[in-house]
Each structure stands twice: as C-alpha cells, then as structure tokens.
Symmetry: C2
Subunit: 112 residues, 2 copies
DNA sequence: CGGTATCCAACGTGATACTG
DNA sequence: CAGTATCACGTTGGATACCG
C-alpha cells in the first residue's frame, strides 16, 4: 500500500471545489472585501456573464461564498467569503507565490 | 480597479498546473518518494492507464516531476518530484487539511 | 513494463436571447 | 442589475488496440 487514502480523498475534495476555471480567481478577488456581481464581472472581464454566475452558484453551494441579495430595484447582490472560504486564504497565497516563481523561472535550468 | 493583475495571473498559472483530474494526487503520491509507473497506477487505480500517462507527461512538461527511464528490459521508469515540484508540498498539505475540514463539516451551521 | 495512436463520450465553458 | 434558458463548441478524460 502507499499513501493514506484519507489524504487523497481530502485533497480531491479541495481540488473539486477550487478547480473551476474561474473559481480560484473569484475567491482571490473576494479576499478581504465584498463585491457586487457587476464588480466581479468587471474584474474578470475574460469570463462570460453566464459562466461567472454558474461558478458563483457552485461556490455558494459549497459554502465558500455568501450571496446577499437586497430587495431593491434595480437589483443589488453582494458576494463575500464565508468564514469557511476565508480558511482558504493562506492556500491561495501559496498558489499565487508559487505561480510567480513558476512564471519568472519558466525554464529553470538554473537549479543545477 | 481592483486586485493586482499580477496576482491573478500567478494564481491562474498555478491552477492550470495543478488542476488536471489526477495531477494533484500524483504530486501528493510523490511527496518524499520515488515511484515506478506501475506503482502509481496501483495507487491511482481509478485512473485509466492512458489518462495517467497523459497527466504525467504534462506534469513533466511543466517541470514538476522528473521521469527517469532505465534502459533495461522489461522497461523500468521512475517518477519523482523535481526541486521545483517540491515547492508545492506545503500547498498540497494546506489542501489536504482544508479538504478534511470540509468533509467533516459538510453542513457547518456550526459556525454560528 | 511502459508508451503511443485513434477515436469517442462527457463535461465545462461560453454565445445569444429573454425575464423580473 | 442580476439571473435563467437553450444551444453550440472545444477540451478533457477514458476505452481500445497496437508498439518497443
């Protein structure tokens, strides 16, 4: 046998939650602040309206973000991290940092 | 404006590298040890032969793992983390830990 | 034993159009 | 402004069969 099966399952769980095309980025955008739908859409200008909504719904269903709709017209909806989603912050930081090294190093023959 | 564009790009880079269906798990399996192809295949018994090879190739192309082929018959190939891939270890640990909390907490109304 | 080559099904993303 | 519905498309994962 090899690795603890539990660890693998736990990792899978996290990967499933974070690995939507824009999910990680949405979470990063929401670190330390609350954004309206339109603000998110502006930040993620590359993601389509439709896709953005789907990913938000999934993140909400997974308990990572909170959706707060104000009963006004025109509609106003705010998204923020749940306490639960905030527990991902350090991981996101790690990812950003590693990505930075990866991009600057690209062909890191420099390890020799 | 909002978040630093660089941070977003860095995060994207990391997500692309880690978000293959089995990539994260492969990396986790290789933490602290070297495995032959068949051993990996046994560990990841749910992944198909073909898929496993594809993911390994991509991880290799991204510089995360090293492939060492011995010119013997029958063939013997060993996979291990590069120094570069090892820099992901702490992130993987974070993911495992968060996944554990997520699975045990599922409906964490308990935050109140 | 480890890898390649096709081919295909499933899913996720995104475009468009319409609603409250 | 925010969301739903429908459909089209590309990418990915996987099945199968065959090489070194």
């Amino acid at each position: 046998m090899g690795l603890d099966k539990e660890k693998v399952e736990n990792l899978k769980t996290t990967l499933e939650v974070v690995c939507g095309k824009w999910k990680g980025i949405i979470l990063l955008e929401l670190v330390g602040r609350t954004l309206r739908f339109n603000e998110l859409k502006t930040e993620l200008h590359e993601a389509s309206h439709q896709t953005l909504i789907k990913q938000l719904k999934e993140l909400e269903a997974d308990g990572l973000i909170e959706r707060k709709a104000y009963p006004v017209v025109p509609p106003k909806v705010e998204y923020s991290l749940t306490p639960y989603g905030r527990e991902l912050e350090s991981m996101l930081e790690d990812m950003v940092e590693w990505g930075m090294r990866h991009r600057s190093g690209e062909k890191q023959k420099e390890y020799s």
